[in-house]
Symmetry: C2
Subunit: 495 residues, 2 copies
C-alpha cells in the first residue's frame, strides 16, 4: 500500500470536489496530510512527526500491533452478522460486563457513538412510555437527527435553530464558569435542583420525562467535571419522574480517567446509571460502539414487539478488535498510565496557571484534562483568540492540540493512553514559550464586519490566527454565505 497517491495539492482539490463541504479539516488554511501513525505520534507525507494530544479514538495508541493482528486474523476467518452464534460476541459482552456494576448486564452492539445514543433514547422511550429528554447545556451526543435535537453544542450553530418542545436543557454543572461555582456551598444539589425544576416545568405542560442524558464528563462542552454526588441527586429526581439516567461514556470511558474504568464511577460507588453508551476508544478507530443496560430495560424494549437488528453491529471482527483493546489496556496498564501521566500533566499545567494570568483553570481526571484560558480572572472573559493562537503555533511545533467548549477557549487534552511524561513535558514547555511570546505581542482584533476579501488575504498568511466570541459565528456566516469552521471561526491578525 502506497502511503501517498496524490501530491497534497491534488488531495485538497479532490476533497473540495467530492467531499461534503460541511466536513471540515483541521487547520483549514493549511491542513495536515497524515500518512502513518504509531503510538502517540502521527507522520505527514514528508515524514514529519506530530505529537498527538487530541485523538481519544486511538485509545491504546495508533495502529497498535495487537489490535491490528486481532482484526486482520478475524477478517481472514469470518465477518458476518449477529444472527449467527459467535463466541467473539458473547465473550466480548462478558468482558465488558465485568468492568461494569452487575446490574448493567445486557449489551447491544452498534457502529458508532451516534447509533449508541440513538438506541439509548429508543430504550428509554420504550421502557418509560415517556417522550421528553433532559440534556445539559453545551452537550454533544452525536450527529443523527435525534441527537442533534439533544445537542445544544450542535443546534446552537444553526441560523434557524428550533428547539424541540420535548427537549429541556439543564445547566452545565461547570464549577468554574457555570451558575454555581467552587465557592457555592453545595453545587451538586444546586445543579441537580435545576434538573428537577425542568422536570416540574415539563409536568406542568403535561409532558413526561423519558431520560436525562449526560456525558460522564462533558468533553466538547468544555472538559467539565461535574461535582461528585450530582449524578446521584439527578438520578433521584429523574427516577421519581419515571425516567432513566443515560451516562454517555463515548468520549471518556475505557480507563481514561485513571482512577476508574468508567468516568461515571468518579461520582461514587453508590451511583449506577440505567444505560451506558460507549464509542470512540472502544475499537481504537474501528467503527463500533455499544449500549449496556439493565435486564428490566432490555425486556421492556423486547416487549415492544419490534426486533432489533444491526447489520454490522457485533460482527466477529469488531468484537475481536474490542477484545484486543481491553487486553492492551490491561496488559500495558494504560489506566494506570493515564492516572500517572495525567496527574503529571495536570501538575505541569497548574504551574502554567501560576505563571500566566491567561490560564484561568486547570481541571482533569487522568488523561482527560482541560486548561481554560481567560483574559480576566474575575470576569472570566474567554481568551478564545489566544487559545486558537496556541493551537496554531503548536501545530507549527508539530504538536496537535485542540480548543473547545462554548467559547472555544478550553485547551483540550485527550491523547492516546500511551502518552508519556516526556510528551507532557514537551507540550507544556511549548505552551509556556507561546504564552510568554503572546503576552509580549499584543493582539489587534479585526472589526466585526470582516469581509470575504480580507478573509482571502489572511488565509494565505501562515501567521493568521483565529479569534471569536462564539456569538459572532452567525455574523460571519450571514455575511459570507458560508459557515465557519470551528477551528477557523474568524480571523485575527497579529501586529
Amino acid at each position: 500500500m502506497t502511503a501517498e497517491i496524490f501530491p497534497k495539492v491534488k488531495t485538497i482539490d479532490l476533497r473540495k470536489k467530492h467531499i461534503g463541504p460541511s466536513c471540515k479539516v483541521f487547520f483549514s488554511h493549511d491542513p495536515i496530510k497524515i500518512v502513518r501513525a504509531k503510538g502517540q505520534y502521527m507522520y505527514d507525507e514528508n515524514g514529519v512527526r506530530y505529537l498527538d494530544c487530541i485523538n481519544n479514538v486511538a485509545h491504546v495508541g495508533h495502529s497498535h500491533p495487537m489490535v491490528v493482528k486481532a482484526g486482520a486474523e478475524q477478517m481472514e476467518l469470518l465477518n458476518t452478522n449477529s444472527r449467527f452464534l459467535h463466541d467473539n460476541l458473547v465473550q466480548y459482552a462478558q468482558r465488558l460486563q465485568a468492568t461494569l456494576p452487575e446490574k448493567l448486564s445486557v449489551c447491544y452492539f452498534v457502529n458508532s457513538g451516534s447509533e449508541a445514543n440513538d438506541l439509548a433514547l429508543r430504550l428509554a422511550w420504550e421502557y418509560t412510555g415517556h417522550k421528553d429528554v433532559i440534556t445539559l447545556d453545551n452537550a454533544y451526543h452525536g450527529h443523527v437527527s435525534s441527537l442533534i435535537n439533544i445537542s445544544p453544542y450542535k443546534f446552537h450553530q444553526l441560523a434557524n435553530a428550533e428547539q424541540s418542545k420535548s427537549v429541556h436543557v439543564a445547566l452545565s454543572p461547570d464549577l468554574y464558569r457555570g451558575n454555581y461555582r467552587q465557592d457555592h456551598p453545595d453545587p451538586a444539589t444546586a445543579y441537580a435542583d435545576d434538573v428537577n425544576n425542568l422536570i416540574q416545568k415539563a409536568h406542568e405542560k403535561g409532558h413526561k420525562v423519558a431520560a436525562f442524558i449526560a456525558e460522564s464528563l462533558q468533553s466538547c462542552g468544555g472538559q467539565v467535571i461535574p461535582p461528585a454526588g450530582y449524578f446521584q441527586k439527578v438520578a433521584q429526581h429523574v427516577h421519581r419522574a419515571g425516567g432513566l439516567f443515560i451516562a454517555d461514556e463515548v468520549q471518556v470511558g475505557f480507563g481514561r480517567v485513571g482512577t476508574h474504568f468508567w468516568a461515571f464511577q468518579l461520582q461514587g460507588e453508590d451511583f449506577v446509571p440505567d444505560i451506558v453508551t460507549m464509542g470512540k476508544p472502544i475499537g481504537n478507530g474501528h467503527p463500533m460502539s455499544c449500549v449496556v443496560t439493565t435486564r428490566e430495560v432490555a425486556e421492556a424494549f423486547k416487549n415492544s414487539g419490534m426486533e432489533y437488528f444491526n447489520t454490522f453491529g457485533g460482527n466477529p471482527v469488531s468484537c475481536a478488535i474490542g477484545l484486543a483493546v481491553l487486553d492492551v489496556i490491561e496488559k500495558e496498564d494504560l489506566q494506570g498510565n493515564a492516572l500517572r501521566v495525567g496527574g503529571y500533566l495536570t501538575r505541569l499545567l497548574e504551574q502554567q496557571k501560576e505563571k500566566h494570568p491567561l490560564v484561568g483553570d486547570i481541571r482533569g481526571r487522568g488523561l482527560f484534562v482541560g486548561a481554560e484560558l481567560v483574559r480576566d480572572r474575575v470576569k472570566l472573559t474567554p481568551a478564545t483568540a489566544e487559545a486558537q493562537d496556541i493551537i496554531y503555533k503548536l501545530k507549527e511545533q508539530h504538536i496537535l492540540l485542540s480548543a473547545d467548549g462554548p467559547h472555544r477557549n478550553v485547551l483540550k487534552f485527550k491523547p492516546p493512553m500511551c502518552f508519556s511524561e516526556e510528551d507532557a513535558d514537551m507540550v507544556v514547555e511549548k505552551i509556556d514559550q507561546i504564552l510568554t511570546g503572546t503576552l509580549n505581542a499584543p493582539l489587534t482584533f479585526l472589526p466585526a464586519n470582516i469581509t470575504k476579501s480580507s478573509h482571502d488575504i489572511l488565509e494565505g498568511l501562515s501567521s493568521v490566527i483565529v479569534c471569536i466570541r462564539s456569538v459572532t459565528l452567525k455574523t460571519w456566516g450571514e455575511q459570507n454565505q458560508q459557515p465557519l469552521n470551528r477551528q477557523d471561526s474568524c480571523f485575527v491578525r497579529r501586529c
Copy 2:
C-alpha cells in the same frame, strides 16, 4: 485466533445473559454457530459447510483475500478521522463518483445504512426547508429513530404504533400483489399518481414535502421491482412540490442487478435521484456506508451553519476496504456474474413455477431474486407456513435462505456475488424436492389460540416448522407477553 472458544450450549447461554433479547438469531430453536466462511460458503463449528444464499453484505464473497489484505495493511499504517487529509478518502470518493451520473458528485462517508439514510433526511430537510417524508408501504430504511418513523416494515410491528404526522405511506409499486398489477395498462403512472395524491393531501393540511425515499428495489418489502418509468414520474411530482428523491441502494447497489451498477439505473438513463445512499455490500462486512448528492444539496447543507463530523466515517481503513471491493467487482467481473448466474437462477425458478402451483411469482434482476409462494394463484393467499417450511428444511440441507415481505412468503435470494450456476442448481433442486414433499404431506395448522405450553412442547421438536399469517403476530405477542422472531413467527406441526 481460536475459531471456537465455548461449546455451543455455553455460547447460547452467554448470549441469553448478555445480548439484548430483541436481537434475534436465525433459526432460534436451533441456531447455527458459524466459525469461518469463504466465498459463498459458511462453516459451522463442526466443519459443516452451508451454502449462503442470503448474505448480500459479503458482496464479493466472504473473507475475500484482496479485501482482507487491503484492510489489514491500512490498519497497520494508519486509521484516523477525516479532519486530516488522506488520499484513500478522496480516491475512493472519485472512484464511487465515476460509477454514478455526473451530477451526483459529493460524498459523505458514514458507518451504516442507517447513518446514511438519516443523513439523507437531514440533507433533504435542510435543502428544502420542508419536513414531510413520503415512504413506500412495507419499506425498511434502518434502525435509528428517525428511520423507524419512515419504515412501515418496522413500525407495523409495534403494538402501540403511532405513525408520525409528517410521514406519508405510498402504495408499494408491486405488480404482483399491489393495487395495480401486470394487467394494468400503466402501473407506473398509477403508482406515481398515488404519491402525487399524498403530496396534495399533505399540502391541504399545510404540510410540505421534503423527500420521497424508496429502495431502488424493495428488499425486506418483498423483493418488489417497480415498473420502469415510475421513479421518473414520482420525481416529477416530488420536485414540483419542492422535495427531493432519495434512492436507497443499501441492499441492492454495487452491481447486484447485473445490467447496471446501481439499481435505480434500471429505471432508465433519464432518471437521476437527488440523493443516493449506500451500505451493506460497500465494505464486504466492514462497517461503512456513504451518501452521495448534488453540489446544490451539499452547499445548502453547509449553509445551515452546522458542521458535519463523523468520527469513524471515511477513515483510511474503511476507504481502503471500499476501494478493494470496487477492485474485486471489476477484476472478477462480479456484475457480469450476477447477470449470468442471476438469469440462470431465475430461469430455474421459473421452471419451478410451471411445476408447482405454490410458486406464484418469480421476479428478479441479477442476483436479487424473489419467489413468492401462494396457496391460491387467483386469491394470492400468502403461503407463509410453506415458505418457512422450505427455509427450515433447506437449513437441514445446509443451505441458508430467508423469507421476507409483509406476509413472509417471498423466498429472498441475495447471495454473495460469486454465486455460481452449480450453487443455483443445488438450491433449486432442493426446493423442488421440498415442494414435492410438502405437497404430499398436508399441513395441519394449530389453532389461533396456541398457548405458551404448546409452544414449549413444539420447540423441542426438530420437525417443528413455522407458520403465520402476518396479522397473527400480535395475537401471539399478547398471549405470551413476548414478541415473536420473524423467523419463528408461530408454530405449526406437520402430521
